[in-house]
Structure formats: structure tokens, C-alpha cells
């Protein structure tokens, strides 16, 4: 067997200012859908900014990791899946949860620890979950979600179902054993799973090349003969296309894929991180490559979104976030009497 790893993406490069996402996608998709992607990106943007604010105002506790700067990857990834596909992510998952259809209000309520939250207030920012929407959890242990995602794909294959599993992770995750074991298992058993590495170029303070002997992360798939590619994570349509293709291959051919989407996080690792380890000009450079602006320009240039529409979408997103905060504020905390609920299934107690 020869490595089917695709060096194409690397050869083309995914560097700044290299808009490579297919124009065909822009043309072949109806305007409403395209505008909705925009809406989702700004919704995440506002949601995350608000979450940061609410954290500072002590409405939110624990750790809180934001998707700011990663909106194109988040929306593109979710848009490339079908509604009944299963999604597993790490703890930086607010945006994914929202894109998969959990209402921002219910997500915010979870961050507030309220009983109306999508995990009934038990999980918090790192552990959003919604079985009905097949959002199978944010997970706080780096790499912990990978074997679970492989197992979900195993269950789908077992049943001959047509759904697939999509599993997000960070760049730092690719250095741990769970990554390796999971990719090997997925390929060995030919399971319908799409792995997405969100290469935001840092795992906490560790730059990719300080943690990975091979900093071109998509290339790690070579050890499993798994198809893989790198895409520009600031380009919504590029991510969408890659995920859609990988999802199709998973669905039809039962072949797993690995996608690396390169982007940047605009802020620190979590809300409390003073973010002192990244060079200022690097941060500036990437902030200029704001995925939302890039997509807006794209839509405008294609004549699909005028300024008024943009304004309108942003206002609506802002309102939705305000509404989410209001809902979260007004919701109740779980009662202390419920402390022992859910320790064991099928018993309603300890």
C-alpha cells in the first residue's frame, strides 16, 4: 500500500493572502445559505466576546476557552456535515455547539451553570452536550474525545448506518498517544470518521513546532496511510469543501480522513491567559486576517451581501447573544437536592 497522503495542499501553501477556496462553491450555493454562514460566524464572534465579558464579571467560572479567530473553521466544519452526523470536540467548543443547533441561550445558560444549560449545568464551558442534536460533547482532557469518536464511528459501521462522525481537536493534541491510537484504529477498521485538527498554532504557550517533530500536522496521517490535507482555516469555503469531501468519503467509502485547518486564536488560551508568549507582530498580522472580514469581502465581491445586509445580520446576531445572556441570567441554578442525580443511569440516584 502506498501513502495516499495528499501533499497538494502543502504544495499550494495555505499562507496568508492566498485565497484558494473554490469559487465554484460560492457559485453553487444559494445565497441564503451563504449569508447564514456569515450570520453564524458573527454570532460566534459576539457570543465569544460576550462569554469573555461574562467570565470577567464572574458569571462564568472554571476555564473558558474561546473560538475567536477560528470562526471560519468552526462554521465551515459544521456546514460540511449533515444534521444527523455526530460531532465530538475538545473544550474550545462553544461555536461548534451553536453551529450544530444548540441555541446560544442554552449554551450561555450552561456557561452560567444554570439548569437550563445544555448539560443541565453539570458540565460548564468545557462540557457542552446535546444528544438530540448529536453534539456528543466537548471534552476537557486533551485527546480524550478521539477514541470516543472512533467508537461512535464503530457503532455506526456496526449498524450499517449512513451517518458519520466528525471529531475536532487542537494542534497540541497530535503529540499524545490518544491521537495515534485513534487514527490507527479508525484506519484499521475503516471507520466513517473525519478528524479535524484546528491548528491555531499554539497549544497554550507551545508553538506547533515546539511540540511536534513534524509541524505540518496533516502529514502525521502518513503513519496510518490515511488521507489528509491542510486547508486555510481562515477561509470558510475552503474548510467547508474539505470537510464535505471527507464526509462524503467517510459515508460512501468508509474511509477516515484527517484535515488540518490553519488559523490563529485572537486571544489567550483561556480568558484568564495574559497571552505573553506570542510575538506582537505575529498576533497583529493574524488579526488582520480576520476570517469574518475575509468572508464578508468575498460575499461582497460576489455581490451576495451589501452593507445593509451585513449590518442587519450583525445586529441580529448581537440581539441573539443579548437574548442568550438574558435567558442565562434569568434561569435558575440546579437545586442542591439534585446533587446525586445522574451519577448512575437507570437508578435516579447514587
Amino acid at each position: 500500500m502506498e501513502t495516499r497522503q495528499q501533499r497538494k495542499a502543502a504544495a499550494q501553501g495555505a499562507g496568508p493572502g492566498d485565497p484558494r477556496s473554490p469559487a465554484s462553491l460560492l457559485e453553487g450555493t444559494d445565497r441564503e445559505t451563504l449569508l447564514n454562514y456569515y450570520y453564524q460566524m458573527v454570532l460566534i464572534r459576539y457570543f465569544e466576546e460576550k462569554a469573555g465579558e461574562m467570565y470577567t464579571r464572574a458569571r462564568i467560572g472554571g476555564y473558558c476557552h474561546l473560538n475567536l479567530g477560528e470562526e471560519a473553521t468552526v462554521v465551515g466544519f459544521c456546514a460540511g456535515l449533515e444534521a444527523d452526523d455526530y460531532v465530538y470536540t475538545n473544550y474550545r467548543e462553544h461555536g461548534y455547539a451553536i453551529c450544530r443547533g444548540i441555541s446560544p441561550a442554552v449554551v450561555m445558560a450552561e456557561l452560567f451553570g444554570k439548569k437550563t444549560g445544555c448539560s443541565r449545568g453539570r458540565g460548564g464551558s468545557m462540557h457542552l452536550f446535546d444528544l438530540k442534536r448529536r453534539f456528543m460533547g466537548g471534552y476537557g482532557i486533551v485527546g480524550g474525545q478521539l477514541p470516543l469518536a472512533v467508537g461512535a464511528a464503530f457503532a455506526l459501521a456496526y449498524r450499517g448506518a449512513r451517518e458519520i462522525v466528525a471529531c475536532q481537536m487542537g494542534d497540541g493534541t497530535t503529540n499524545g498517544g490518544p491521537f495515534h491510537e485513534s487514527l490507527n484504529l479508525a484506519k484499521l477498521y475503516r471507520l466513517p470518521v473525519v478528524f479535524l485538527i484546528v491548528n491555531n498554532q499554539y497549544g497554550m504557550g507551545t508553538r506547533v513546532d515546539q511540540g511536534s517533530a513534524v509541524p505540518d500536522l496533516y502529514r502525521k496521517a502518513c503513519a496510518y496511510d490515511m488521507r489528509s490535507e491542510r486547508v486555510d482555516g481562515t477561509d470558510l469555503l475552503a474548510v467547508l469543501e474539505a470537510v464535505r469531501t471527507a464526509a462524503r468519503i467517510a459515508r460512501e467509502e468508509r474511509e477516515p480522513s484527517l484535515i488540518e485547518a490553519v488559523s490563529y486564536r485572537f486571544r489567550g488560551h483561556s480568558v484568564v491567559d495574559p497571552d505573553r508568549y506570542r510575538p506582537e507582530d505575529e498576533v497583529r498580522r493574524w488579526r488582520e486576517r480576520d476570517p469574518i472580514l475575509l468572508y464578508a469581502t468575498r460575499l461582497k465581491e460576489a455581490g451576495l451581501m451589501d452593507e445593509a445586509t451585513r449590518q442587519e445580520l450583525e445586529t441580529r446576531a448581537q440581539q441573539e447573544v443579548e437574548e442568550a445572556v438574558r435567558f442565562a441570567e434569568e434561569s435558575e441554578f440546579p437545586s442542591v437536592e439534585e446533587l446525586y442525580d445522574f451519577v448512575y443511569a437507570g437508578e435516579g440516584g447514587r
Binding site: G151, F154, A155, Y344, G346
Partner: protein
């Protein structure tokens, strides 16, 4: 009732549960083509095919996590970890994931999972292959832990575990596989969390589980004959949840207890039992609860050293003797 080995009881139960429920599947290292390191799964690959009996590469965290993920989607995996020693590699998926998922996500997604694994020493497998690490799991809410000592209990508890909606650690023991006993037929189940009085008595209670329960029963029978001592033997069978009622009632009757366990003494299962008994039967105790346990060393390979390190019937008898010396009130026997 049929007489069979502990191994056979496990094998038959696995087979029947595979037949009963299409969602049940077996997964682990060498359980199929190799027929299982200890041959519990012999013949099942041929009978059920590779879909239901899944051989894995050597990646405990990976395939345990896989099983958890499959359970989240409603399958009912039965994982074999070749021996409990290798479970050290799967702690993250078991403790940080299987044990947490139902609670942490607000009761949306149960994890119906069984992890079968043998512990125990005495096979000269040396320090890294002779451990009893079950107390690690007994400590963790969200997990259940059972540890049957007889073929009948193995059958009844394994059935229950497979049908339970929670992650259950099912502890076997290398030295039990060839032991024999009567096993009820049919759809025989035993509730998790119920201890078993293996033998009644009124002078003293010996509390144990897994392999040591068998030794304890033997010693009790012998001492009954040889010394007219009436010893009650309780096999707790489930470590989590632990059946307080049965052990406390026994000690309320006998007023003294010895805990007999294969594992290291400090921070072992016996510690919890002793702590519980003094909490709940304080005024009934005529003497301190004794623990007879393994020597606190990494188990050595050399036969004489290994034998010296493992808890023995002799040590148990000595503990009985020690308790008798302390007796402070009339024994009604």
C-alpha cells in the same frame, strides 16, 4: 445446576449475551484469533464472526475509549483487558470519560459498558503483572465494580453487568479460572451491590472478595472442624456499591471481623471495610477489625519470595488466633 469452571461460566455467559442482544459485542486484545490469553473467549470468533468479536491492536486507552464511544451510541461493549496491570494505560478513558459522561453531560447519555479483567498474583509473573488495582476503580463514583469468587457468581454478576446501563469493572482472577462450582442454569442474574454470606457462623466474621473469599471459606470450614470455631464468611462480591448492610449485620452478630484480601494492605479494599464497620457497628465490636493482606512490596518473581508476599491461609489462621486472644466477653458457642 451444572458443575463447571469459573472460565466456563464466563465463557457461557458471554456467549448467551451475544446471542441474546445484537448490541452486545466483545472487544480486546487477542480475544478472537488467539482465543483469549486465558481462553475465556475461545470459539466465540468462529461462532459470532469478527463483527461481534473484535481483536484490537495493543492500545488499551484507544480501544477502551472506542468501547465507551460505541456505548454512547447504544451498543453494549464487553471489553477484555488482558490483565488488570495493563489497565494503567486506560485510566484516562475509564475514569475521566466512562465514569463522568453520564453525570457531566446532565444525564443525557448513559455508558453501558463492561470491562472484564483478571487481577491477582501467584503465577510468578512478577511486579508488573501481578497486581490488584481494583481499589482504584472502587474509589470512583460513576463506576461500578464487581469481583465474583465462584463460577455461579461469575455467571450471575456478568449477566447483570452486561445489562446494566453503567460502566462496570468486572474483576476476575487468574487463579480462579480453573476453580469449579455449581452454576444455576437459565437466565440467572445477581444484583450488583449485594454481598453474599458464604457460610454462617457466630464467633467471627471473615470478609473477603474474589480469590481470597475462596481461601477464606476453606479456612473457615477447616477451623470449624478442627477447632469448633463458628466462622461466618462474607463475600462482598461488589466493591462499588458496597453492601454495608450485610457486613454490618454479620459483625453485629459475631462482634469481630477479619478482612482477608490479596491486595496490598494500605489504602486497600480492607481499609474501607474496616472504616465502615467501625462507623456502623462500633458498639458491637469486641476487638479491632484485623486486615490480612498482601505484603507491601512489588510482587517478586522468585517463588519463595512470591509465596511469602501473598496472603495465605496460614496468615488468616494466625489472625483468627490473635482475635481469639483478645476476646473480652463470653463466647456463646
Amino acid at each position: 445446576m451444572a458443575e463447571m469452571t469459573y472460565r466456563q461460566a464466563l465463557h457461557d455467559t458471554l456467549r448467551e449475551e451475544l446471542q441474546r442482544d445484537e448490541n452486545v459485542f466483545l472487544i480486546g486484545e487477542e480475544i478472537g484469533r488467539f482465543e483469549g490469553s486465558y481462553k475465556i473467549t475461545a470459539g466465540l470468533l468462529q461462532e459470532f464472526g469478527p463483527k461481534r468479536v473484535v481483536d484490537t491492536p495493543i492500545c488499551e486507552n484507544g480501544f477502551v475509549g472506542l468501547a465507551i464511544g460505541a456505548a454512547m451510541l447504544g451498543l453494549r461493549p464487553i471489553v477484555e483487558i488482558m490483565t488488570i496491570n495493563f489497565i494503567a494505560l486506560a485510566m484516562d478513558e475509564i475514569v475521566n470519560h466512562a465514569a463522568k459522561i453520564y453525570y457531566m453531560f446532565g444525564g443525557q447519555c448513559p455508558v453501558p459498558l463492561v470491562i472484564r479483567t483478571p487481577g491477582g498474583g501467584g503465577q510468578q509473573l512478577s511486579a508488573t503483572h501481578s497486581q490488584n488495582l481494583e481499589v482504584w476503580f472502587a474509589h470512583v463514583p460513576g463506576l461500578k465494580v464487581v469481583a465474583p469468587s465462584t463460577p455461579a457468581d461469575a455467571r450471575g454478576l456478568l449477566r447483570t453487568a452486561v445489562r446494566d446501563d453503567n460502566p462496570v469493572l468486572f474483576l476476575e482472577n487468574l487463579a480462579l479460572y480453573n476453580t469449579r462450582g455449581e452454576v444455576p442454569e437459565g437466565d440467572y442474574t445477581i444484583p450488583i451491590g449485594k454481598a453474599q454470606v458464604m457460610k454462617e457462623g457466630h464467633d467471627l466474621t471473615i470478609i473477603s472478595y474474589s480469590r481470597m473469599a475462596v481461601v477464606a471459606l476453606d479456612v473457615a470450614r477447616r477451623l470449624e472442624q478442627e477447632r469448633q470455631l463458628s466462622i461466618e464468611v462474607v463475600d462482598v462480591r461488589s466493591l462499588r456499591p458496597l453492601d454495608h448492610e450485610t457486613v454490618v449485620n454479620s459483625v453485629k452478630k459475631t462482634n469481630r471481623a477479619i478482612i482477608f484480601e490479596e491486595d496490598w494492605r494500605s489504602y486497600g479494599v480492607g481499609a474501607e471495610l474496616a472504616a465502615t464497620l467501625q462507623e456502623e457497628a462500633f458498639d458491637y465490636l469486641d476487638a479491632p477489625i484485623q486486615r490480612v493482606a498482601g505484603a507491601e512490596v512489588p510482587l517478586p518473581y522468585s517463588k519463595p519470595l512470591e509465596q511469602a508476599a501473598l496472603p495465605s491461609a496460614r496468615q488468616l489462621v494466625e489472625a483468627v488466633d490473635r482475635l481469639a486472644i483478645r476476646k473480652r466477653r463470653v463466647v456463646y458457642a
